[in-house]
Subunit: 306 residues, 2 copies
Amino acid sequence: MTTTMSRASSALAAVLLAGCAVAPAPVAGTPAPVAAAPGDAAAPDTMRWLYGSGEAAGASIQAYRMLADYALARVQEAPERSVPLGLPEAAGGTGVVSCLNPDGSRKPPAVVFDADETVILNSGFEYWQATHGGAYDAAVWERWEREGAAIVAPVPGAVTGLRRLREAGITPVFNTNRASDTAAGTIAALAAAGLGEAVHGDTLFLRGDDAAGSAKDGRRAMIAARYCVIAQAGDNLGDFADAFNAKALSVQQRRTLAARGDLAQLWGNGWFVLPNPVYGAAIRGTIDEVFPPETRWSPDTAAAGQ
Amino acid sequence: MTTTMSRASSALAAVLLAGCAVAPAPVAGTPAPVAAAPGDAAAPDTMRWLYGSGEAAGASIQAYRMLADYALARVQEAPERSVPLGLPEAAGGTGVVSCLNPDGSRKPPAVVFDADETVILNSGFEYWQATHGGAYDAAVWERWEREGAAIVAPVPGAVTGLRRLREAGITPVFNTNRASDTAAGTIAALAAAGLGEAVHGDTLFLRGDDAAGSAKDGRRAMIAARYCVIAQAGDNLGDFADAFNAKALSVQQRRTLAARGDLAQLWGNGWFVLPNPVYGAAIRGTIDEVFPPETRWSPDTAAAGQ
């Protein structure tokens, strides 16, 4: 069961979150019935951790505290340039944008958030995925986008974090790969989760708002044209820079790009990541890809080497 | 394969990390050979995320930045009392300890860290687990404790974080459920990972140092008798208070205890959690336990309700 779910989650990841991929059109119709898992079956470990554990709740509360502390301090400095949106200039990107309008006036400060598993928990959809099994079903996900508001929950810490931002005059802006044609459902879900108002085209940007599919750099530029973006938050590296999700990067190259050099300086310092092992570009790779040769151990080898 | 690994990880969790449980004695002898997974098999999603993703690397770099920033600011305040070690007094615990010795002199400041998946990554052992499959093997884990130093890696951000603490005169102290009789291997592993020196009984406390098994409150008290503990860090709620891992708590009660009320105020504010979905008390529960009734959704129900 876990294997099926993991693959389904990976498929969800590939469809929703991989950089530069254009999401397929939703398939019409009711999903074919499959054998359902009973509620007393073991939940997948990734869901246990994210949706069931106090550790995950603590981790997100911690991240939101850090993000709000950072943003409240940063806005006091009246920054002249945004946080890197996409790769920084030093890495070949064009990510840093002026916080001044052409007439010299200041853009209002904002923090840009991904939505799914960043500000809202899609526990309802994932419960269905856990019980239903089978492959990711785009039609079901679309229904969840449209109808999930009654069940969706905030990520622990997000309601307090966003409230602190708004009280300090900082606008939360959402940049999500939910579809533009389900905007009403997403706006309702954000409001129902206690995350406040979102206005499509002003504080909410969706897949389909430009021609770049799931890639977010273009939408980041749209946001930065009107806001001074002092921080970014997300659960996927693509929420910070499309370059991380380039298909040419190996698992280890992608990790190294995030964890070494200039970009590593941004974690907790303008870029804030929320943990999500359930789906997304973060969970790909064979055993050999995840564990490079220098990390491999076995008790037999160790014995031979003694 | 994933199912097997998940259960093996859960077994590891139960043995190593559940509060108040006494770990069984390691079984002597060589593990029985089982069918091994090839390196091109899919890695478990939890390992993909923790050991392979830039998201996890960013999350731990972020947590260590926050921890070091917090500790450096806190030590300037010359605190008179420790951070809560175990439940705070308001919650019925005895967790806050004076930072003054009986003669009125100040105890030296310290931050208490768990070891596994908090400061060091056990990629080597988990690679073996991923390829080997099968149940958790205590004898193999014991060999890893003894012999893993050549392969063990630091958690991203930990080397810099611990260096910043030491430069500020703050001592990192390790409180781990590795066994006291493999102390030499753990000391070697910490040093090899670039995490500095650890001295058993002074800056390193292990399972077996007292009669409480895997429970850590007693060792926390031993540490607080000589140090002013200004922060705690770990990947398991038991690294902060044994009460979280009481067997009577349901999955949801445990999460609520961590995420609501007084204790929620501590995340990122004295208590710092590192994400670990691979093993531990965080990954337990059936589908029904992980997803309480108010979170359950299905497209069929939604259709009926329209």
